[in-house]
């Protein structure tokens, strides 16, 4: 998730002219592309699970302070949406790296997501335990 300007420009170019990926380098073994596709789908399911978790917070914590509940719900929904967008970005970058014969891109995203989910879960457990309700 490096955010320097060059990588942002690169990403925008990649997203707006997808045909370019197909022109670069050599087509990798189809099995590698399928493995990459399954990784994309696993990340999409992770995003969908986060969205579902947001619905669960909204439905199953009726006694939590309404404002807090909305904050937690929206945080999980946004995390799910970001996860899905990032999944496609990572898939495109992996596909391109394979075509060019480069190393696969490394990412800080899994660690960031783990910390975010851990902090959200701990906060909710603490809030329910101390009974901070209406």
């Amino acid at each position: 998730m490096s955010v320097d300007l060059r990588s942002v420009r690169e990403t925008v170019r990649l997203w707006w002219s997808p045909a370019r990926i197909g022109e670069e380098g050599r087509t990798p073994d189809y099995r590698f592309s399928l493995a990459n596709e399954r990784t994309l789908l696993a990340w999409l399911r992770t995003g969908l699970a986060l969205v579902g978790g947001g619905f669960a917070v909204d439905q199953f914590l009726p006694r939590l302070h309404p404002g807090l509940r909305t904050v937690f719900t929206v945080a999980l929904l946004v995390a799910g949406a970001l996860c899905a967008v990032r999944a496609v970005n990572h898939w495109v970058r992996c596909e391109r790296a394979m075509r060019r014969g480069e190393d696969l891109p490394v990412s800080r995203f899994p660690s960031v997501l783990a910390v975010v989910v851990g902090v959200l879960a701990a906060a909710m457990v603490a809030l329910v335990a101390i009974g901070w309700t209406r």
Partner: protein
Amino acid sequence: MGTAPDGSGARDPGLQPERTRLAWRRTTLSCTVVVALAVRRLTQSVAPGVVTAGAVALTGVAWLVFGLVAHGRMRAMAAGRPPVLGTRGAGLVALCTVVLAVSVAVVLVGGG
């Protein structure tokens, strides 16, 4: 390796197309569950009827698009050497996830 001597065979010792087809199936089922929960939540909302109806319609469209992309991809997996997933398909399924999250978030923040 793993293909018939004449190069046309579909034998893949790793069953990659099958595993990918099942991954699409799992993901479609996950999406269906989330759509069902979203519709349930939206129909319970006290937001104006037009907003709710729009959000439900959007959710339905997202589910349909997701299902169509997944269906096309699962059909492609029947080939011995499936073609690479297109950027458009990948972008569309991600967009569906974003639409699901945003449509519920908007209704929630806008008055529950």
